[in-house]
């Protein structure tokens, strides 16, 4: 008779179990806080990585509205203090790679291993997601000494503040991984690649620099490829360059969006162009 239970009793048992779980979680978080206080300044003990579930934020934000964060940066790029982001940076060095819309930073951690001599930065407009990347970088720098000193994240609106960060002909690679498609007609202005913004991206890139784009939406892919073909300063990579470049496999497998696309079984469309 104990096996057969009514519905009400099952619900009560589940409720009791949830309360017990909550109490357990509260105790664990208190323990973690105590451990973190101990390990803040202790180089021997290791910190715990932040959890993604606590840093989720809604995806779509209006990039054309004027926000307070647009006016926080210094006006001239020569006055920018990069030592807050890269503590070992010297005088003659500068940022090389830019990841616009970096998300939870999957590509950045791979770039620091593949290119240890180049500095790369991730730009993100959402506050919580950017703070997640910053915390993860600080934890990794504390646990493994001497590594991950050439990446960092910054919270800005990339459509407005790029001239305040970079100088003419500075960057050598720019990444656009799985951007927002913005299907509606009145939201076409929010797309990150358009005929007007390509002139600015070409101004910041060296000759021979490469733009990497990837999506799983065919409409966006045709839009981006069409605009890049019509711009006279960009040419598409040849088939040999597609095969020889090691970054192309990295793009389609490393970030969170890429892993989500693989789970759902979608197709990915590549479009990589070179600046003259």
């Amino acid at each position: 008779m104990s096996s057969s239970k009514t519905n009400q009793e099952e619900i009560k048992e589940k409720g009791v179990e949830k309360e017990q779980e909550k109490n357990v979680i509260e105790e664990e978080t208190e323990k973690e806080k105590e451990i973190q206080k101990e390990t803040e300044n202790d180089p021997n003990k290791k910190k715990k990585m932040p959890k993604i579930n606590l840093f989720r934020q809604k995806a779509h934000m209006n990039p054309l509205s004027l926000r307070q964060m647009d006016f926080n940066l210094s006006i001239r790029p020569q006055d920018m203090n990069w030592k807050e982001y890269y503590p070992n940076m010297e005088k003659g060095e500068h940022v090389d790679f830019a990841d616009i819309g970096c998300g939870y930073g999957g590509l950045l951690f791979k770039l620091s291993e593949m290119f240890p001599n180049n500095y790369s930065i991730g730009l993100e407009i959402r506050g919580k997601v950017c703070s997640f990347v910053k915390e993860k970088i600080s934890v990794l720098r504390h646990n493994e000494k001497g590594k991950y000193l050439n990446i960092s994240a910054l919270q800005t609106n990339a459509m407005r503040t790029l001239p305040h960060l970079f100088v003419k002909r500075q960057l050598s690679k720019i990444f656009f991984l799985f951007p927002d498609p913005e299907f509606k007609k009145r939201k076409i202005k929010w797309r990150i690649i358009s005929q007007e913004l390509l002139a600015e991206y070409a101004y910041f890139m060296k000759s021979g620099g490469i733009i990497y784009t990837i999506t799983d939406v065919y409409k966006l892919h045709s839009w981006m490829k069409g605009h890049l073909e019509q711009h006279p300063l960009f040419t598409e990579l040849t088939k040999e360059e597609y095969q020889n470049d090691p970054l192309i496999n990295v793009i389609s497998t490393e970030s969170e969006e890429a892993k989500r696309v693989e789970k759902n079984g979608g197709t990915k469309f590549l479009a990589c162009f070179k600046r003259k």
Partner: protein, 406 residues
């Protein structure tokens, strides 16, 4: 606003175009004769002349613009999609116009007339086969509203200013290739002046929170000198935008600046070390009451034309040979001339009720007023007739229904 909207000069001949709301007047100021006058449905936002004097264009506040010949005959008319035309510039070699919208700037040819859409073009505009670039071809795009746009003397660079304190210098005619970004203002850029004989420097003025004038180096994008009106905690010019800047064409060391809601224009000088100095604060005699300066531009003979917001006055201040007679400036300024358009405009502006309707002088004569009085009686009769017709129609409908049922 009743005063003068725009003052635009032509480079070769002593011709000026003035706009008062809906009306436009083209004058020859050496002989004080009127060449032509236009009238439109809506108020005028921008005027532009060609360098050779062969073409002339006007933009209105209802997103339309017109292009005229050297004989002032219409050759082209079209309308924009997003906003009113902000600035109009003529291409030096081709027959086309560079027009700025709210955010974009286009290049539109006025050589051919608009043909009717063929069937192939209609199919292209259907939902399935949408082209990527809709409408006119966009040459340039900002992410916020464009306030000023102009070209240098040599036609090498094309400069645009923004509300987001950004100044973009791009090559010409390859406008997709940016030359340099000039960054230094802390608020929106409200005014710009271009040197009439060299392409190495130009001036800009800042907005509300940044009342300052900056002299730029065009090749690098760096600052030669910056003049702030609010130095040493001087709150006399607190929160006032710089409205106008203009170089003197005969001697471009001197230029004039105007702040919003300040009754005095300022005279500046540029040194050989490329530094800005304030020379004089000019007091205007017989300033009209409760009024503000709206525009001030220099002539080809280096006379200053000033227009106001509420009165139809235009004051012309004559400046002498600059370096010789600076000490006698006050005596020269007393000999100023006035163009007073009030008597012509009293009948039109103060009796008009609907500012969007077309105006003719005959409509304000006494004979027509009597006819309009008779029309009022006819209107009542017309209303009665229309009501009767409507009632008859309803009766006929009912009869048809009853007949059909039977």
């Amino acid at each position: 606003m009743l005063g003068c909207n725009q003052i635009v000069f032509q480079k070769n001949r002593p011709v000026v175009a003035l706009s008062f709301g809906n009306q436009l007047r083209v004058l020859d100021y050496s002989t004080n004769k009127e060449i032509k006058s236009f009238e439109y449905d809506n108020s005028i936002s921008q005027i532009a002349f060609d360098d050779d004097g062969k073409n002339f264009s006007v933009g209105l506040h209802n997103k339309k613009f017109f292009v005229y010949d050297h004989n002032f005959e219409l050759t082209y008319s079209d309308s924009l999609k997003r906003g009113n035309p902000g600035s109009i510039i003529f291409h030096p070699t081709e027959k086309s116009i560079l027009i700025t919208d709210n955010i974009y700037s286009y290049k539109i040819p006025f050589d051919k007339k608009k043909e009717k859409e063929t069937e192939n073009e209609k199919e292209k505009k259907s939902k399935k086969n949408k082209p990527i670039l809709n409408g006119h071809k966009t040459e340039l795009g900002h992410t916020s509203i464009i306030t000023q746009a102009d070209m240098t003397y040599d036609k090498i660079f094309y400069i645009t200013c923004d509300i987001a304190r950004r100044i973009r210098v791009s090559n010409f005619p390859e406008i997709y290739d940016i030359h340099v970004f000039c960054l230094g203002h802390t608020d929106s850029v409200t005014s710009m002046a271009i040197h009439p004989s060299s392409s190495e420097q130009f001036l800009t003025g800042g907005g509300l929170n940044d009342t300052s004038i900056i002299l730029w180096n065009l090749q690098n994008g760096e600052i030669h000198d910056q003049y702030k009106f609010n130095e040493n905690n001087n709150e006399q010019y607190h929160k006032k935008a710089v409205l106008e800047l203009s170089y003197c064409p005969k001697d471009p060391k001197f230029f004039i600046a105007i702040l919003k809601s300040v009754h005095t224009p300022f005279l500046f000088q540029i040194n050989s070390n490329k530094k800005i100095e304030l020379l004089k604060v000019i007091n205007i005699t017989d300033f009209p009451e409760e009024d503000e300066i709206y525009k001030a531009r220099f002539d080809q003979n280096s006379n200053l034309w000033i227009s106001f917001q509420k009165t139809q006055l235009i004051k012309i201040l004559k400046f002498p040979n600059w370096e010789e007679n600076l000490s006698d400036l006050e005596n020269y300024l007393k000999k100023s001339i006035e163009y007073n358009f009030e008597q012509d405009f009293v009948n039109r502006y103060f009796k008009r009720e609907n500012r969007f309707s077309q105006v003719t002088l005959s409509s304000y004569n006494e004979e027509d007023n009597q006819k309009n009085g008779n029309d009022n009686n006819n209107k009542k009769e017309r209303k009665k007739n229309s009501k009767q017709k409507w009632k008859e129609k309803q009766r006929q409908k009912k009869e048809r229904k009853n007949n059909s049922k039977k």
